[in-house]
């Protein structure tokens, strides 16, 4: 732990450590991740009410900026924003402006001109939400809804919520993440979050073609064999296997992958008896997970979706409140400077 802030934290946090953007789980303080989970807990009930709304984001405009198409993640963000009473604008950029030659920066300037308060960004390039967060007006919050292979922090936090819900906490937990680690932004964000929250061990399991070089540098132990990797784990997280992986010489076939790494009841026996099974969805039955497991008693896959809305509500409301406190602090310091010297010009 170095005294200087990591570059990601400098962007994500206000001077007094509040969340203003949510771009990655890496390097965030444990207390902040716990805050997200606690805040989410207070929102879980909202979904069960007759009127499923709280007024925290009333009068705020949330723009869903999806450069990569996604129905599921976008819908949960949309629902989360609506339950917080925000106005929501959905932009499917994959099909619009940038394909007409407009640069990302020009697109951003146009959206800023519409007085948005928050951008929820999904982009195919790793680091795109960082670039956007560095470029937007300081008062606009940026939430990363998945960038390249880099991060998918809200997915990771809903997974943390799920784990805490079923396991009571993180101390002593062994968690295995299985499958296409190389291309997975979900796995990266999960590893960071699990380590920060105090899990005992995070394991990555897959064939070497789907494990990134120096995967240990993420903060995990690496296995290529399911029997060893799943031994005595408390949580098994299966990742979705994209069909394209067969075309680029990363895997020979779905069949061989399923035989080696697909989770069925036999392989689940290696884990602890009370181990839970998770998956960020959408699942490929018979490729990375057998129906007997996906629909079985240990699966908490559908509960993850429910918690996802609450976690996204938590992150959105915290980032907006961080932004508001930041601009209040800025306004206050400007006023005091003007009061002291009157030197600052009107803008």
């Amino acid at each position: 732990m170095t005294p200087t802030l990591a570059p990601s934290s400098r962007v994500q946090l206000t001077d007094d450590g509040k969340l203003r953007h949510f771009l990655t789980t890496e390097h965030l303080p444990r207390s902040l991740l716990e805050d997200i989970l606690d805040t989410a807990a207070s929102f879980v009930d909202v979904g069960g009410r007759a009127i499923k709304k709280v007024p925290l984001l009333r009068g705020k405009t949330v723009v869903n900026l999806f450069f990569e198409s996604s129905t599921r993640t976008r819908s949960t963000f949309e629902l989360a924003a609506q339950r917080l009473s925000a106005d929501v604008l959905n932009l499917d950029i994959a099909k619009s402006a940038t394909s007409k030659g407009e640069t990302l920066l020009d697109t951003l300037r146009n959206l800023e001109a519409m007085a948005a308060d928050m951008f929820v960004v999904r982009h195919q390039d790793s680091g795109a939400p960082f670039f956007i967060a560095n470029e937007v007006t300081p008062s606009v919050a940026v939430i990363n809804a998945g960038d390249g292979r880099h991060a998918h922090p809200t997915q990771a936090m809903l997974d943390m919520y799920t784990i805490r819900h079923y396991k009571g906490g993180f101390a002593g937990l062994k968690v295995a993440i299985v499958g296409d680690i190389l291309h997975s932004r979900v796995a990266r964000s999960q590893v960071h979050a699990l380590n920060i929250l105090g899990a005992e061990e995070v394991r990555l399991i897959g064939p070497k073609t789907l494990l990134p070089v120096d995967a240990e540098a993420l903060g995990a132990t690496v296995f290529t064999d399911m029997a060893q990797g799943l031994k005595d784990v408390d949580v098994v997280i299966m990742l979705r296997l994209q069909k394209e992986r067969m075309d680029s010489a990363l895997l020979p076939s779905e069949g061989e992958f399923f035989r080696l790494y697909g989770l069925n009841n036999d392989k689940l026996h290696f884990a602890k008896d009370d181990a839970i099974v998770m998956h960020p969805g959408p699942i490929n039955r018979g490729v990375e997970i057998a129906s007997e497991v996906a629909d079985g008693p240990r699966s908490v896959i559908l509960n993850q979706v429910t918690f996802g809305i609450a976690v996204r509500m938590a992150v959105m409301s915290m980032a907006i409140s961080g932004q508001d406190s930041d601009s209040n602090a800025l306004a206050a310091s400007t006023e005091s400077m003007e009061g002291a010297g009157g030197a600052r010009g009107q803008r």
Partner: protein
């Protein structure tokens, strides 16, 4: 023309008490230099030159004009960022008087392009450009370029500027043809399949940032094939922008075998490593990518022990808009031959 004659008639210049470094003569001491009519006439302690303009250089270095073995020009290609005048002015400001320019502007595969480059550099008058000719037509890696004609037009070497050569047969024939005229060949080793889609060194930083990687073997695999073909054809070869430890091992062995090979490294790779990419710093998006700290250490050692023969700027004229995008979407390259060469010298000292 006007500038040149003005130079000839200007007052004599006495540069006093600078640290005079001249590798050609082995000189490195504090001395005075007298320049008369644009020519260096005397070096010595406490020179006296009545009427000369005095330049006090105490605490500064006085160097011969530097040669930058690898720059990218943007003319006569797109011409959108910088032109030959601005590029050569920037180089001269950094003490660079000769620039070996990569053939990827244009491409440099006809005498007309070579003439255009040399003419524009001559008119600007800041530094001399020594063009490297395209080895294959259009740098497409399929048919031989007119290497002999291009050399007669003023090209000092041939190369394919990192462009893919179709296959080993075309490469072998290109080398044989270049060897016919004793033309040196400039290689930029990087296997195109192993580097496809990558934008960062395949290592812990790229893994954490989720950036598609270019492994170090992308360079050394290509380099080992190149070295075998150099040996088979007897061509003189210069390897540019060496970035990895494994490549240095191959180069050392080749030099030990007596192959006519030299190599350079770009200043970025001596000063920075993969950690510079933290926070998705797109200014450090360069090809070959900034590699590990261990690679950087090895490169510094290789400069010291002579395995690497030259440090170059790998200057790429690049507008700020080319860097204003998410990291993988930015244009690779770094501007700045101005200060780069001197920084390189400082690193070597």
């Amino acid at each position: 023309m006007h500038v040149a004659s003005a130079n000839r008639n200007r007052a004599h210049i006495l540069i006093r008490k600078g640290r005079v470094i001249d590798p050609a003569s082995g000189r490195d001491d504090v001395a005075d230099l007298l320049i008369e009519n644009g020519r260096l006439t005397r070096i010595g302690a406490s020179l006296d030159a009545p009427g000369a303009d005095i330049v006090e250089a105490d605490g500064h270095w006085v160097l011969p004009g530097l040669v930058d073995a690898c720059v990218h020009l943007s003319l006569p290609g797109s011409g959108r960022t910088g032109d030959i005048a601005s590029e050569t002015r920037a180089a001269a400001a950094g003490g660079i008087t000769h620039l070996a320019a990569q053939p990827d502007c244009g491409p440099v595969d006809s005498t007309a392009v070579v003439r255009l480059i040399r003419e524009q550099a001559g008119q600007a008058g800041f530094a001399r450009i020594m063009p490297i000719a395209a080895m294959t037509q259009g740098l497409l890696g399929e048919q031989l370029a007119e290497m002999s004609t291009l050399a007669r037009a003023g090209c000092i070497a041939v190369g394919n500027a990192g462009g893919k050569v179709a296959n080993s047969l075309v490469l072998k024939r290109s080398l044989e043809y270049a060897a016919t005229f004793d033309l040196p060949v400039m290689f930029r080793p990087q296997d195109s399949a192993l580097s496809a889609g990558g934008c960062a060194h395949e290592g812990p930083v790229a893994t954490r940032l989720g950036l598609p990687g270019i492994p170090a073997v992308a360079e050394s695999v290509d380099l080992s094939r190149d070295l075998l073909l150099v040996e088979a054809t007897g061509v003189r070869a210069h390897f540019q922008q060496i970035s990895s430890r494994d490549s240095l091992r191959l180069l050392r062995a080749a030099k030990r075998r007596g192959l006519p090979v030299t190599a350079d490294v770009s200043i970025q790779h001596l000063l920075l490593d993969e950690s510079a990419l933290e926070g998705f710093n797109s200014h450090c998006h360069v090809i070959p990518p900034l590699r590990s700290a261990a690679d950087r250490e090895a490169l510094l050692e290789a400069v010291a022990d002579g395995t690497i023969d030259a440090i170059c700027s790998q200057h790429t004229p690049i507008g700020s808009s080319s860097k204003a995008a998410p990291f993988p979407a930015t244009k690779p390259g770094m501007a700045g031959s101005g200060c780069a060469a001197l920084a390189g010298l400082a690193t070597g000292q």
